[in-house]
């Protein structure tokens, strides 16, 4: 069928959908095993949100142990042993192994099952093809395969909680030799144990990311609408483009490392186990000759680009909402694009700054210290451009914008507190303290997750045709913002006081956490307000959850472009039909043409042709005007 003919003849989206294979698909093919990028995006989004909440629940449990070490957890504590097994919380008291499992799985779930699926896969899937005016992804079946690989990986990670010995407990970084020997020996199944399942689950998650990355890059390169040149792409698309490259090229080395650790555990090789390894006083029967540092190198070769995988999509979302709600063009679009490209490039050669404590020599330290500081330059350019974008705007304080505006200083705090960690000498003191926890959580929690909340509120009308409640959105926003800061600001203090991040008792048994007071509380006592803030933040998510599901059916009905935005996704019907656009869009202008002079409306959409009057007005002077 000639595609141009279909566009001309079918103006009604429903008849358009009806004439194609669309209506023949059963419920399962349409909503569960779909190849439609929007359905897959929403599936990713729901799974990602669910996993984010689960990861947060794990942390709320840990916060009990940190604030009230050794005390029985009231009410819930009675039920948890029935779910996680008697070894988890006998009599409501958390065992060290279970605490370690929660810590490792909190990190794993939040990053690889929560934020990446939500930020990259969900928003990328749903928004990118719409923003570039494409009918779908280039490889819809690969896209579905990517989602289902993610699903399998997620299920394996969940199953690992319920095997004998519990889930992986060697930290989300799974450093060897600790991880190489964890969950093995008597009482553990050789395959169905926490660490091995963690590795197997990871192989599926990596596969999912790789398939997704290939699809995203190809889609952005090949399926841009006519006239949508590279420099007319919305910044969100650029951010996703670079993110996809990071996933594509940084994940495989981790996959190789995971295969090797799996071999260490299943075939008893010694890729990461050194010669002469002694466990519990017994020399291990291994060939040795492996290197724990090799794992660290390969892990952080992914690990650092992964940080940018987490933050770049949030940058993209923030850019869209910022321009839309300040009603003026994004300041410094080109510098933003080049900054994001530079970040992507540099993020591959900074990884060893996670390894200062391994005692690297000065030459390599100097190299990685330099690249780490270099990468802060484009980050600062991006943040500055965002702030300047607000200057002189007529700002609308709707819920997406509130989260966006909060993102800016929160990310700023997170970024700036990272600079001391970039220096080898300062990091030797701060490494593995709560300072580090506070630093990166400021980037990913009030940073990335605020960006994601903003995105959910912003694109919700596109996915459903209805808006989420503004009032309940604000009820969600303010407590979340306050609690976030109450949780993470004191951690800087705790960390600088020398509190170690992996203490199972919250520091109760350590002099350094009890001998000095910081603003009236000892390091250990600071755990109380932090924990209470964390639980309060859990409550603050209830309005969001209710608002989200209630609005799907009962939210205020809105038109196709409720935010009066300029980019192409708002030219499609809400929700967009299979194939997305009624008319194949053509882009005539840049992505952020807000408040163009001489226009009736304060926004000019990308598919509005350039008028002759505009053309003459825009023409640069033929000759330079000299004074």
């Amino acid at each position: 069928m000639d595609p141009s003919a279909s566009v001309e003849t079918h103006h009604d989206p429903h008849s358009h959908a009806g004439e194609h294979e669309h209506h023949e698909l059963g419920w399962w093919r349409k909503y569960i095993f779909s190849t439609d990028h929007k359905v897959i995006g929403i599936q990713y989004g729901l799974c990602g949100l669910a996993f984010l909440f689960l990861g947060f629940c794990l942390m709320m449990l840990m916060r009990w142990q940190l604030a009230y070490p050794g005390q029985a957890l009231p009410v819930i504590g009675k039920f948890l042993p029935h779910i996680f097994g008697p070894g988890s919380m006998p009599d409501g008291k958390m065992t060290p192994d279970f605490y370690n499992s929660l810590g490792a799985m909190h990190g794993t779930i939040m990053i690889f099952l929560g934020v990446v699926p939500l930020a990259f896969a969900a928003f990328g899937n749903f928004v990118v093809p719409l923003q570039i005016g494409a009918p779908d992804m280039t490889f819809p079946k690969v896209n579905a395969a990517s989602f289902w690989a993610f699903g399998v990986g997620g299920v394996i990670m969940l199953i690992s909680f319920f095997v004998p010995g519990g889930a992986a407990k060697s930290g989300w970084t799974s450093y060897t030799p600790l991880a190489g020997i964890a969950d093995s020996g008597p009482g553990h199944n050789p395959v169905f144990n926490g660490q091995t399942l963690w590795l197997i689950g990871f192989i599926f998650l990596i596969t999912s990311s790789l398939l997704g990355a290939v699809n995203f890059i190809t889609t952005i390169i090949q399926l841009r609408a006519k006239g949508l040149t590279w420099m007319r792409l919305p910044f969100f698309v650029w951010a996703q483009f670079v993110t996809a490259f990071l996933l594509l090229l940084a994940f495989p080395p981790l996959e190789a490392a995971i295969v090797m650790q799996l071999m260490d555990r299943l075939a008893h090789t010694s890729f990461f186990l050194p010669t002469g390894l002694v466990v519990n006083g017994v020399p291990m029967s291994i060939s040795g000759g492996g290197s724990p540092l090799l794992w660290q190198h390969l892990f952080w070769f992914l690990g650092h680009p992964e940080v940018y995988v987490l933050i770049l999509p949030a940058f993209g979302i923030v850019a869209e909402i910022l321009a839309n709600n300040s009603r003026k063009p994004l300041w410094g679009y080109k510098s933003l694009v080049f900054s994001v490209l530079v970040i992507g490039f540099l993020s591959f050669i900074v990884w060893a700054h996670h390894m200062w404590l391994t005692g690297m020599g000065s030459a390599v330290s100097a190299f990685f210290q330099t690249t780490t500081l270099l990468i802060s330059i484009p980050s600062v350019i991006i943040l500055s451009a965002f702030f300047i974008s607000l200057w002189g705007g007529s700002i609308r304080f709707n819920v997406p914008m509130l989260f966006t505006i909060a993102f800016l200083p929160m990310f700023g705090i997170g970024g700036l507190t990272g600079i001391p960690l970039a220096f080898n000498s300062a990091d030797l003191y701060l490494h593995d303290t709560y300072y580090v926890i506070a630093h990166f959580h400021y980037i990913v929690a009030p940073g990335t997750i605020f960006g994601l909340f903003a995105g959910v509120y912003y694109w919700f009308p596109k996915a459903t045709g209805r808006k989420m409640s503004e009032f309940w959105g604000k009820v969600h926003f303010w407590p979340t913002l306050i609690c976030m800061n109450m949780i993470f600001l004191p951690m800087f203090l705790q960390g600088m006081a020398g509190m170690h991040r992996r203490w199972y008792d919250g520091g109760q048994g350590w002099n350094v956490a009890n001998d000095h007071t910081i603003w009236g509380l000892t390091g250990f006592q600071w755990n109380h307000p932090i924990s209470w803030a964390a639980w309060a933040m859990g409550l603050a998510q209830i309005p969001f959850i209710i608002n989200f599901f209630w609005s799907i059916k009962h939210g205020e009905k809105v038109n196709d472009n409720p935010w009066e935005a300029t980019t192409l996704e708002w030219t499609a019907p809400s929700p967009p039909p299979h194939g997305n656009f009624v008319h194949t869009p053509v882009a005539y202008r840049g992505p952020y043409e807000y408040s163009l002079p001489g226009r009736e409306r304060d926004f000019t959409m990308q598919n509005e042709p350039v008028e002759p009057a505009e053309r003459t007005r825009r023409k640069p002077p033929a000759e330079p005007v000299l004074a």
């Binding site: 390169i221 490259f245 090229l249 080395p253 540092l293 090799l294 190198h297 070769f301 490039f345 591959f348 050669i349 060893a352 390894m355 391994t358 005692g359 690297m360 020599g361 000065s362 030459a363 390599v364 190299f367």
Partner: protein
Amino acid sequence: MNNPPDISQDPKEYEEYAHGIQKHVRGYLMVGALLLTFTVITVALSYVHFGTDKANIAIAMLVATLKAGAVALVFMHLAAEKRLIYRILIFTGFFVMGLFWLILLAWYDYPIFH
């Protein structure tokens, strides 16, 4: 060596087109023979001692790189590919070299080991 042209929709030009492909086929066969020869050379060279083990490794890797280059350039059509593909591969090559080189650099830089 250029890639075969796309097939013509015009049946009159088909003869010419098929002939063009035929020429490429000859090229592929020659490269295949070359690769087989080089395989034999690799094996033979490994039984010649070039002074140090490092020299032997370097020579074997050089031959392997030549073979890999032939596969990439001719079989994978990289001799004449679009600019986009080159860009992707240049970045990949850069990062994989970074992985090799920086890990080794870090390894030799650990004062406690050396």
